[in-house]
């Protein structure tokens, strides 16, 4: 397929013109405002979209291979390096997998701190995407820095929310990127109550900021574009999910984490360094904020639900462009949840429990900002990793992204080229794709 494309760029267009067919090739070689390196390619012949491709050329780093022969306790620090934007997600999925392998459930204040540090990561990662990466598309700027010239307060407020998320991570984790305090069984050192309580005022202010911003976001213009997705997310009995729950969908999937690979398979395609995932029985699916929101709406705080009703979103969203609204609502949720958790927190006597998995298989799946992140480890009798499997959210979303591109480009095929390319890029950015994660995982191109 790749070769065909390359020829198409050089010769194909001319040949096809002879047959009086109008072929257009749109390429964006280096997609901007995404984390990592990828390209987009759309081919349109006589006004019909013939091919779309999300190509990932981020060089592979072989984490699953280099984890072999490492001790179980090293997995959180090593896998954190898969992604600088969501290291907590990698640490949480790996420690839960190791604890599963050892047959241990960690409760109490350690569990609370894990939820809290995850709130920090959602706030930081979502704020980065909403304000710095996604919003410039809606307001027509190349970057948040350009946007700041006319919308200074908006960008400043966004950055202050982002900083708050980072500060939660730093207090608990030691630093914002690749935190050092997370370990299998808990934390190296538990924070003191006052260290966290000093965030309460800022959390209250950030809540007000987000309520205003959500009102602003709701008034943006959204393309009329809805699809019938299979949404997949964790579902927990009484919480909006971070670390625990069953994996469920709106089309009948309802499984335990350990059954993941029986229902979801990964495939390799020639044009991408990222593996594609699909549900065995049905095909593509969508993970991330919209999926979480649709499947767990009832678990949101009453105040978040009331704002979502006020802006007319309600409990269900199937327009991927509105993911910016859902992310903003999740930021609001995470801010409120962080306040609640901090007020409940009492410094535990022991910051961790002893966990020694041996001769066992461990499964972990947690809700990274971009969706479910699955880890599986086979551990030998000495606690060494024999085999590792990591399935990040962006690889799971790749098929849905390509399908969105196909349908979107078809519906808006008559837009001027420049506008269509921008909108197609935005279609990809809707997913906040993290390419560093998925490589084992953007450029854009349209051909007419």
């Amino acid at each position: 397929m790749n070769h065909e494309k390359d020829k198409g760029e050089v010769n194909g267009n001319k040949d096809k013109k002879k047959e009086s067919t109008r072929v257009k090739d749109f390429k964006v070689e280096y997609l901007a405002r995404v984390e990592g390196e990828g390209a987009m390619y759309v081919k349109i012949t006589d006004g019909v979209v013939k091919d779309v491709r999300l190509k990932i050329y981020e060089p592979p780093r072989f984490f699953e291979a280099l984890l072999r022969g490492r001790r179980f306790s090293e997995a959180p620090d090593i896998t954190a390096r898969i992604c600088g934007i969501c290291p907590i997600a990698y640490q949480m999925s790996s420690i839960h997998a190791m604890e599963y392998a050892a047959g241990i459930r960690v409760e109490g204040m350690i569990r609370l701190l894990r939820r809290l540090v995850y709130c920090g990561e959602w706030i930081e990662s979502h704020a980065l995407h909403v304000f710095l990466l996604h919003l410039p598309d809606f307001l027509g700027y190349a970057s948040a820095i350009d946007m700041a010239k006319e919308h200074k307060d908006l960008v400043k407020n966004g950055l202050s929310v982002k900083k708050l998320g980072n500060d939660i991570i730093s207090i608990i984790g030691g630093r914002e990127v690749h935190p050092i305090n997370v370990r299998v069984g808990g934390f190296y050192k538990a924070p003191r109550e006052y260290e966290l309580q000093q965030l309460l005022d800022r959390l209250d202010r950030a809540k007000d900021t987000m309520v205003d911003i959500i009102g602003f976001l709701a008034r943006l213009e959204y393309p009329d574009f809805e699809r019938d997705y299979e949404f997949v997310a964790l579902k927990h009995e009484d919480e909006y999910p971070f670390n625990e729950g069953r994996i469920v969908s709106n089309k009948g999937l309802d499984i335990e984490v350990k059954e993941f690979e029986e229902h979801i398979i990964e495939e390799q395609v020639e044009y991408s360094n990222a593996l594609h995932s699909r549900i065995k029985e049905r095909g593509s699916y969508l993970v991330g904020p919209i999926a979480r929101y649709n499947l767990n709406y009832d678990k949101l705080h009453a105040s978040v639900k009331s704002i979502s009703r006020e802006i007319g979103l309600g409990g269900y969203c199937s327009n991927p462009f509105k993911s910016i609204l859902v992310r903003a609502l999740e930021i609001l949720y995470a801010i409120e949840e962080a306040s609640i958790l901090i007020k409940k927190y009492r410094m535990p006597d022991d910051p961790y429990v002893d966990v020694y998995p041996s001769n066992a298989v461990g499964y972990g799946c947690t809700e990274a900002p971009r969706g479910i992140l699955y880890h599986r480890y086979v551990i030998d009798e000495n606690g060494m990793i024999k085999e590792a499997k990591i399935i990040p959210p962006t690889s799971q979303n790749q098929k849905a992204i390509e399908e969105d591109l196909y349908h979107f480009a078809q519906r808006y095929v008559n837009l001027p080229d420049e506008e269509l390319v921008w909108k197609c890029e935005q279609t990809i950015r809707n997913y906040d794709p993290c390419i560093s994660c998925a490589t084992h995982f953007l450029k854009a191109k349209i051909e007419r």
Binding site: Y30, A32, R33, V34, E35, G36, E58, P59, P60, R61, F62, F63, E64, A65, L66, R68, R70, R71, E74, I78, R81, I82, C83, G84, I85, P87, L128, L132, L133, A142, S143, A144, I145, D146, A148, K152, V155, K156, L159, S160, K162, N166, G174, R175, E176, V177, I180, N181, R183, Y188, K189, Q268, V269, E270, N273, L275, E425, C434, S436, H440
Partner: protein, 259 residues
């Protein structure tokens, strides 16, 4: 840090940020400068920074920050092009300065690595090694860390813009611990710590959180690795000692000798 000094210049300096094999964490550190970002953008032109902006200003660039290691033939060509269009080239982070965690493959068989992750290895274009930027082009400054410290990153940018040497200390983490009045966790609690051979810059966060340093910042200047290994032998078996050195800076000069 006198970023504002540049405002008086007639021409704003052009900054570019390039990514090779990496996790994005080091360039993210720039966006994590929440309080300074807009001020920074006022005083320099962010001319190429794909993670943050669609618009691309043509080179040459006054300063290029390079994140990530070199792992493919294409990237060898790309880094040479980056060098040609950059007045100063600064490599940032453990991947760019030492090859990163992915340099563990330098110690193993690449074919085996490929087939573990990919069912069809023939689709994947990759070199047998992951190497630092300095193996391929001249580098004007290396900023260490996995990830880099964002305040040090700001110091480096503003120093180059003001034609001064960045004030980045190359002594060990031990010095940072002493300054913080931390009790030595290796002496007091017998926890293996890499602080004695590790480059400063993180402000000794691991010992401050009661865990041993695991050397995100790589070797310090004139690190006495052999002596530390000898001390470790009282606490750890040989395999565990090697594993300590085989992480994010495994391919850095004195660390890679530990076998």
């Amino acid at each position: 840090m006198s970023i504002s000094k540049n405002r008086r210049r007639r021409r704003r300096y052009k900054l570019a940020v390039w990514k090779f094999a990496s996790c994005d964490g080091c360039q993210l550190s720039m966006l994590d400068l929440e309080d300074e970002l807009l001020m920074l953008a006022d005083s320099i032109e962010i001319a190429y920074f794909l993670e943050a902006s669609k618009s691309v200003v043509r080179g040459p660039y006054d300063i290029s920050l390079v994140e990530g290691s070199i792992t493919t033939d294409k990237d060898v060509d790309r880094i040479r092009k980056v060098r040609r269009v950059s007045r100063y080239l600064v490599s940032i982070g453990a991947c760019a300065t030492a090859g990163g965690i992915q340099a563990l493959k330098n110690f193993r068989d690449n074919k085996e690595f490929l087939s573990i992750v990919y069912a069809k290895p023939e689709y994947i274009d990759t070199l047998d090694t992951s190497k630092p930027i300095s193996e391929y082009v001249r580098v004007d400054f290396e900023l260490r860390g996995c990830p880099v410290n964002k305040h040090q990153l700001l110091e480096v940018i503003s120093s180059f813009l003001n034609n001064k040497r960045p004030n980045i200390r190359s002594h060990s983490v031990c010095m940072e611990c002493k300054r913080l009045n931390n009790v030595c966790i290796m002496v007091a609690e017998g926890v293996p710590c890499m602080g004695p051979v590790t480059h400063a810059g993180c402000n000794a966060i691991c010992p401050s959180y009661r865990r041993g340093c695991y050397s995100c910042f790589g070797p310090s200047e004139s690190a006495n690795v052999a002596s530390l290994v000898k001390r470790y032998r009282d606490m750890l078996d040989e395999e565990s000692i090697v594993r300590l050195f085989r992480t994010f800076n495994a391919y850095a000069e004195p660390f890679r000798e530990v076998k």
